[in-house]
Amino acid sequence: MGTPSSHEDDFDRVLRETQGLIRAHIAGMGVRSDEIDDVAQEVYLDYAQHPERRPADVEVLRWLRGMARNCCHEYFRRRAKQAKHLVAICDTISSASEDELPGENDLQEAKLAALHECLERLNLPHRELLTRYYHDGRTAEELAASQGRSVGAVHMVLSRLRETLRRCLLGQLGTAR
């Protein structure tokens, strides 16, 4: 079943314009960061194969977010031990969050660019901690053991660093929430 090239162009444009936002949306529903792209891939492959399913009066971004939510539910059903609870948590977080503006995908990319500068402002041990956790894939337990801290303390530091970076980003981008 070949897709006409105009459809391919449309899909490519949609993919490029929305992927950052959809991946962030999936992250925000609680999917682990190393599996976000797998879930996002399901969303886009399904959309590419069945674009006709989207009602004409539903904008693409809203449709993709709905698909992402369904894929997240499916992900939790397959991967989480307490699937029902995780699905409920996912919906609770989603429902409490305000809708993103249509242009926010650009903001996602801008955040990514600004994050470099914000990271540079952190002190070296904190940068190393983030690198070891997010780049090297070390677990909090391993970091705790190597630093002589509790696992909870490591998570607390990571949480504070994320909050610091978020505030830095908001300052850099001139927005506030």
Binding site: K81, A88, Y134, R162
Partner: protein, 416 residues
Amino acid sequence: MNDALLAFFSHRNDMTAEEAAAVLQVLAGDPALCRWLRDQLEMEDLLARMLQPERADFVNRIHAELHRGRDSERFVARVRELVSSDRAAMRVRAASTQARVKPAPRLARPRRFWLSPWSIATAASLAVMLTAVVVVANRPAIRHQVLQGDIIVGNANVRDIPDGSNFTVAGDAPAVVRLGSGSQAEFSPASTASIRSASHAASPVVQLDAGSGDFQVGQGGQELRVETSLGTITSSGRDGAFTATFNEEPATSAGAAQPGDHGAPVTAHRTGVLTVTVHTGSAHVEVKGKRQVILADEMRVFSMVGGTLTDERSVRGALKSLNPSGPVASVSVSDHATGLTSIPIGPNTTVLINGAPAAATDLKLGEHVDVRVSKEAGSVASLILVKRSTPKKPDPTHAAANAAANGIATAPPAPH
């Protein structure tokens, strides 16, 4: 951050019912906390995207997956054409059969064409073909992403290793491969292996033919299995990590530098050495039906000829002499209990300094070594373990300096 959210960040997919219910309880009715959590999760994603360069290629990843999908769609379309041709042929056959049939008496029950042997056979063929079409159409191609380094499949350098294909690590740098279920493997140069998975979600199985790999179980904690022709290593748990080194040599060459030949014939067998080092968690090693558990920070060497697991001997003490080359290559270790012990070394000797593969020339006289020796009918396999207080990966340039300091000729490190 309260304890409920700590569990969520720590192991959300493996939370107990109580932990998950507690998370739900603290979030319910607190939109501000929900927004805070969402911000935290989105920041996690941003950080992961920035610090994991392989995630920057998402758009190309989707296009590649779509392209693969279209290949299978074209195949399905061809099969469907064949099926429809077969239906047309069936209609022609049915029509010609009916034309030859003598008109039945008015009250006689008309003969139904689908009861004929031809029709039944055709219907059965159609059912088989349609089942094949459905199975093929619904089975996505499984590939294993190369995150770093050069991997050769056949004669081609690939970025995705097809499931079940043999591959070799090219160049001087190790290659990092993402396995299914979030696990990861770093193969040393010249390693040959293949990876197979029953499905995208299934636990991967690595067939390590030769070389070495550092294996890290994914955060999902699914089982990771590494198979060699000598034995199988299995690790599970969220933080499981181990190194497996396997080299298989013809017994004739392996035994060349080894004393201790008890006169048993060795030319008919191949011999191999499997070294397993567990960094975190634990691993099960099974060799010819014998199962052993290796815990974190433990290393074990297995060697076998003719299907017999050999006995191990452990010698610990100070390195007194080092003669890494020549017909009587050996090290001597001094300990309080047994005095001076001389241990032959050769192609089946593995040296690990702080867990990293090294050459015998990297050893320093006087330092504490832990030597495991496995004797076989035709050869001796040994593992020399050194833990130095300042972890530092051996540098090839230091090897020459050490060799010079020890008064010995520099030999190239044995391939791992």
